[in-house]
């Protein structure tokens, strides 16, 4: 074979090439050259034959010529002197009557890539630009770009640039596109070819003549153009409309890219264009070529970020085919998770359930975590499937399920009961460290509810000597400590053994130090240990529903139709949290940590405040007229967990009952307000859009009832801030409930928000709100005032709003109410 004894082969070939008998027989000569090229493409070094091949290039046979040129272009850089001989032949060929020979010579002359030959090449290139044959002009135009890149330091010849600009009017469309490409490269320093109005219109008018590739290239370059008027913009858009639904995916994608850049100032038009490409994108998703399917899928994911409802009705198109490669299946599942809604959730889960037992373990795990993601909104059904999967007792499935459950519990604490039940007996099947870490975390946090938790941990502790994974050891330490706090009697002994082992025998410094830390912590007493270890059990930033707020198109428009969306997969799958959730999510400090949270919230006030101000400028003037005087803003930080909300809310209600009758001339730092807002369509709008709208103005919605159910409720909260004249920034917590009871009689008004010194003391003692102390000092004055008169109207289209404010600030409350009213009105008019 050629790899062995290649020197002999080269020697033999050299002899053959210089044999006059062979040289005189065109067929044999060509075959010998073929053998040389074959060796070359197999990776054998045949550069030794260069001089023989130079001689061979003087021939009239075109196939022969082409073969020799392939060789010469590959090795010219190694033999600059000998290449000079070739240039002569090539220059002669440039005069050939056959245009094919001329273009061939010109192309290869520029492909030799030798700076020393530039002076010989310039003249033929110049005449090539004016050649009769289009194929020669095509080559000549690109030849200038090659020449320029060979010596980027030299001055650009203005005459050439002008000539290239004038060739944009060449009758041959490929020459035109090549001119664009060449000018892009030559004028790179100046930002590429000049795109002005005449050039743009010329290019657009000739778009039809170009083939698929040319169209893509032109549209990519036109992205730089900014139309001068709206009329012009719409003329261009209507001209491009047909390409938007082109059956060729590259043209479709390039057109979308151009649309997005042209419409960057008109988001609505851009979104309409994206709606239009749904059909061609879906067609590309079903294309024969797997790679094309994948590309289309990745771009659909991109579009869904701005238009979550785009593919809702077509979710079945994203069901996986059983023979599809794993990378497509995983992408499809990611898309499916985005498309879930009340109607299709059972179909989707049925389908995903099937993938969970896929032969490919990666696919199976991706399916399981997809079910977990859906579980954030439909937890019961998903937990049922996940628990069922544990019955399979298969290593990779159990591991994925436990990890998914951990992630789910972190977001939806209400699932914890089911999860705790399911955990029993998992430890036998779990083999990999990721799965065991997840199990340990769950046992640590919910240890008091899993009866077998101490036994499971004991098993782990007994095997700690042979444990290889660092992560598992660390997690084991933390879990045992946590379990010790809630079940000391059962755990004390094993904790002692574990600490003993880790402090005395463990060689890894991380584990050793962690154990030492815990040991010393225990010395500080139970209280301290509890404070450190009993952190959050759930992610407070997410609330009950995971709001998938829609991103503006501008966020991803730049990466559309580039390689970026295709690569993201690697990043995403890695970030699907390995390690316990506390480390992954950006969890705020436990609220015992007073000074820290004070700092963080102050940091955030400034940007949030300015956001709010911007927003208020755009909103209808009548609403916020009063707020124009005092800068006012809403903020979501510090976050409030659902449990905390519930506690606060109920606490306030308690006061109502007990002390509602007392009239407040005492100190108050808490206000309750009821108001009715007229917004008929609100109870019928989807939770997602409501939440998105609320988040836009920094109101966090915590819980919903499903649309169309009665009574319909939404719970929400925010922090209202406004700066007083003396530049002190003041913040209050506002809790709210929207209630819609339909035609049923609405109980209105009547209730009075009160408070007294005692409650204020209670709150302060809790130390929950950092502003508390300050508030108490300030909250000396007014009586019952936040109470807006509740109008006793019984019209069905009114939504009752109950607001509870902690740390009373009437102005802020009014501001909040007006913002809320605006949002609800806007939403309701959109629906109508």
């Amino acid at each position: 074979m050629p790899y062995l004894g290649s020197e002999d082969t080269v020697r033999e070939l050299r002899r053959a090439l210089s044999n006059p008998n062979i040289q005189s027989d065109p067929l044999r000569y060509r075959n010998t050259i073929l053998r040389v090229i074959r060796l070359m493409s197999q990776g054998v070094d045949v550069s030794g034959l260069f001089s023989e091949m130079v001689k061979a290039c003087a021939t009239v046979d075109i196939v022969h010529k082409k073969l020799v040129y392939v060789f010469l272009c590959s090795y010219a850089a190694l033999n600059p002197e000998l290449s000079l001989l070739v240039v002569n032949t090539l220059r002669k060929d440039c005069q050939d009557p056959n245009p094919m020979v001329r273009s061939l010579a010109l192309r290869n002359m520029t492909n030799l890539r030798l700076p020393s030959l530039v002076e010989y090449v310039e003249q033929p290139l110049t005449s090539g630009l004016r050649d009769r044959a289009a194929c020669v002009r095509r080559v000549a135009v690109l030849g200038w770009a090659k020449l320029y890149n060979l010596q980027p330091t030299t001055e650009i010849d203005a005459a050439v640039v002008n000539e290239l600009y004038s060739l944009l009017r060449d009758p041959d469309p490929v020459v035109m596109v090549n001119c664009l490409r060449a000018l892009e490269e030559i004028l790179k320093e100046e930002g590429g070819v000049a795109i002005n109005k005449p050039i743009t219109h010329h290019l657009l008018n000739r778009l039809k003549e170009c083939d698929v590739w040319g169209q893509c290239e032109v549209m990519k370059i036109l992205q730089r153009y900014r139309p001068q008027s709206e009329d012009e913009l719409f003329d261009i858009l209507s001209l491009l409309d047909a390409s938007l639904v082109s059956p060729h995916p590259p043209v479709m994608a390039a057109t979308v890219g151009l649309f997005l850049s042209l419409c960057s100032g008109l988001p609505a038009v851009g979104l309409a264009a994206l709606e239009r490409v749904r059909a061609p994108l879906l067609a590309a998703c079903g294309s024969v070529s797997r790679e094309m399917r994948f590309t289309a899928l990745c771009h659909i994911q991109l579009l869904l970020r701005s238009l979550p409802g785009l593919m809702g009705a077509h979710y079945k198109r994203f069901f996986c085919g059983y023979a599809e490669p794993a990378y497509i299946k995983q992408r499809k599942m990611q898309v499916l998770v985005e498309l879930v809604n009340d109607e299709n959730v059972s179909m989707l889960l049925d389908e995903l359930k099937v993938y969970c037992t896929d032969v490919n373990t990666n696919t199976a795990q991706a399916a399981i975590s997809a079910i977990g993601r859906i579980g954030r909104s439909y937890s019961d059904r998903c937990l049922e499937i996940l628990t069922g999967l544990l019955g399979l007792k298969q290593e990779h499935i159990t591991s994925a399920v436990v990890q998914t459950m951990r992630d789910l519990v972190w977001v939806c604490p209400q699932c914890s009961d089911t999860v705790c039940l399911a955990l029993e007996g998992c430890e036998e099947t779990l083999q990999d460290s990721q799965g065991r870490q997840a199990l340990l975390w769950l046992l640590g946090v919910y240890g008091e509810r899993v009866s077998s938790a101490p036994y499971t941990l004991e098993m782990f502790i007994d095997g700690v000597r042979s444990e290889a994974s660092l992560g598992v050891k660390m997690e084991l330490l933390t879990a045992t400590m946590r379990l010790f706090l809630c079940r000391p009697a059962e755990t004390q002994d094993m904790l002692g053994r574990l600490l003993h082992y880790c402090v005395d025998e463990e060689t890894d410094m991380c584990v050793h130090d962690q154990a030492l830390l815990y040991y010393r912590l225990l010395h500080c007493g139970m209280e301290e240990t509890q404070k450190v270890l009993q952190g959050r059990r759930s992610d407070p930033s997410l609330g009950v529903l995971i709001g998938r707020s829609t991103e503006p198109v501008g966020q991803w428009a730049r990466s559309f139709n580039t390689l970026e969306p295709l690569r993201q997969s690697a990043v995403e799958t890695e970030s699907v949290s390995r390690g316990s959730p506390e480390h992954v999510t950006f969890a705020p400090k436990p609220n015992t940590d007073l000074p820290d949270s004070l700092n963080s919230s102050q940091d955030e006030k400034v940007p949030k405040g300015s956001d709010g101000a911007n927003w208020s400028k755009e909103s209808p003037a009548d609403v916020l007229a009063s707020d124009a005087i005092t800068p006012f803003s809403l903020s979501l930080s510090p976050a409030l967990s659902p449990e905390e909300f519930e506690r606060l809310w109920l606490q306030r209600q308690g006061w109502h009952v007990d002390e509602g009758a007392e009239d407040g001339d005492e100190e108050k730092d808490y206000v309750c307000v009821e108001e009715h807002i007229r917004c008929p369509a609100i109870p019928h709008c989807s939770p997602r859009s409501l939440q998105a709208a609320m988040q836009l103005v920094n109101i966090q919605t915590l819980a919903f009832t499903q649309p169309h159910t009665l009574p319909w409720r939404v719970y929400l909260y925010t922090h209202a801030q406004h700066t007083r004249s003396d530049d002190t920034c003041q913040s209050t917590l506002v809790l709210g409930e929207l209630l819609y009871t339909g035609e049923a009689d609405q109980k209105t008004g009547g209730e009075t928000g009160t408070g007294d010194g005692e409650t204020a003391d209670k709150i302060a003692a809790e130390g929950r709100e950092q502003e508390q102390v300050k508030q108490r000092e300030e909250a000396v004055v007014t009586g019952l005032n936040g109470r807006e008169t509740a109008r006793k109207e019984r019209e069905e289209d009114r939504v009752k709003v109950t607001l509870k404010q902690q740390a009373k600030d009437e102005e802020a409350l009014r501001g909040f109410l007006s913002i809320l009213t605006t949002v609800l009105h806007t939403l309701s008019s959109e629906r109508a």
Binding site: K66, W213, V245, P247, E291, T295, T357, L566
Partner: protein, 441 residues
């Protein structure tokens, strides 16, 4: 912009390597192959990155077709280009395989030279390219008994000889120049079904993607008219004719197709260029005009000896005149399945257990419409539990339905004008493939 293009065999042999811009180092091919082989499984991601080099590759004909490019280039364009390149190579070399690429490397270099210049795609139209490509394709056709089967008993014209041999369309387009008289044109209607059937036989998903492909071996063909069913309709509302409508949801055409007679008579007019091109693509979503071609009835139970018993009945609901060929059903089985004993209803079927893919593969070479086949599989499973039953299913079917279209699209006529001098042959072929046919158990 494409920096380099190379073709690798599945074993990593360098078949073709062309550097268009001279910017990257020459060891990129081995870098790419290392990246591919470093991954487990045979499905490397489409885009891979090495320093600031980006590899995009496709798999066609068992080969890796790779382009290196910059981060901001369009993946749609490059993948479409690689697909187009491979189909050009197929057109010019007759077929796509490691061997044909190896034998025709000179031709492929010549093609690449004309198709891409300095990393910019110049043209991929076979009409333009045919003027530039001078090298003859080398083909190797192994001797095949199939060629003899065209000759009937005692040389009589048989029904068979009216059917184009399957090898007819796998020859290089240029050979028509030499063979002269042998000018042929193939019009293929190819549909791909993806179906999900519920365990109770309810159709849960049914999509059909179809295309009309023209493969032309005529040196000069000025115009061709393809007549589709008169009652062909697009979209939900539009209905035509009195007969059963042939309906599709979306439909798109090659830009060379003239549609002036399409609205009234459903006629496509075009001037086909040499080689293969897709004239029309269409999709039908969530609907099948006829019953799904296969249904499965299954009973799965554990017997007293701890074995898993599977009774499967597969029914083919095609019209009695047509038949499915190369039917292969994949039945996932529980992990830990050790051995399989089988009872199949006819001797030409076969079934085997593939522990690697954890599945039984049941093959049926020919399955006439309106018939029913049954199979009994007894599986020895170690550690069989009731939960293991969850792992059985869904069954995936792959098959080919020759002379059948799922949408019912037919070609009424195929006319060439002006009438070709000398004998010319026109072939119309229909086939429906299973893209993905899944039956839940």
């Amino acid at each position: 912009m494409i920096s380099q293009v190379f073709i690798l065999s599945s074993k990593g042999d360098h078949l073709i390597y062309k550097d268009f811009r001279g910017e990257a180092e020459s060891n990129v091919v081995s870098v790419f192959y290392e990246k591919v082989t470093a991954l487990t499984g045979d499905q490397p991601p489409v885009v891979m990155t090495h320093k600031d080099l980006h590899f995009i590759h496709i798999r066609q004909g068992g080969l890796y077709w790779v382009a290196t490019t910059t981060a901001d280039s369009s993946p749609f364009t490059i993948i479409e280009f690689l697909n187009r390149l491979s189909s050009l190579v197929k057109d010019y070399c007759g077929s796509l395989s490691e061997k044909s690429v190896q034998m025709n490397f000179a031709l492929i270099y010549e093609l690449l030279d004309e198709v891409v210049d300095y990393g910019y795609i110049q043209t991929t139209s076979s009409d333009v390219l045919k003027n530039f490509i001078q090298t003859e394709a080398v083909t190797s056709r192994p001797f095949s008994l199939f060629d003899l089967s065209n000759v009937g008993l005692f040389g009589a014209e048989t029904q068979q000889s009216k059917v184009a041999p399957s090898s007819a369309a796998t020859r290089p387009i240029q050979s028509s120049r030499e063979q002269g008289g042998k000018s042929e044109i193939f019009v293929d209607v190819i549909e791909r079904m993806s179906v999900v059937l519920g365990s109770n036989g309810v159709l849960m998903k049914a999509d059909v993607e179809g295309e009309i492909r023209v493969k032309c071996y005529m040196p000069s063909c000025s115009e061709m008219r393809i007549g589709l069913n008169e009652e062909f309709s697009i979209g939900k509302s539009q209905l035509r004719g009195y007969g059963a409508a042939v309906r599709v949801d979306e439909c798109s055409f090659h830009q060379a197709v003239k549609l002036d007679e399409f609205d009234t008579h459903r006629i496509l007019r075009l001037c086909p260029s040499q080689g293969e091109q897709t004239v029309m693509q269409y999709q039908l979503a969530d609907d099948l005009p006829s019953a799904p071609p296969f249904r499965l009835f299954s009973t799965i139970e554990r017997d007293s000896g701890g074995r898993l018993l599977m009774y499967l009945k597969l029914r083919c609901d095609l019209p009695p005149k047509s038949a499915a060929i190369n039917v292969s059903s994949t039945i996932p089985v529980p992990k830990g399945s050790v051995s399989l004993s089988q009872e199949l209803s006819s001797p030409d079927q076969s079934a085997e257990l593939r522990p690697q893919s954890r599945a039984i593969v049941w093959q049926i070479p020919r399955f006439p419409g309106g018939t029913q086949l049954s199979a009994l599989f007894k599986l020895e499973v170690s550690g069989l539990s009731s939960a293991s039953m969850l792992e059985v299913g869904p069954v995936g079917l792959s098959f080919e339905l020759p002379k059948f279209t799922a949408t019912g699209l037919q070609i009424r006529f195929l006319r060439l004008s002006p009438i070709q001098p000398g004998p010319s042959q026109r072939w119309v072929r229909y086939v429906t493939h299973s893209d993905s046919y899944t039956i839940r158990i």
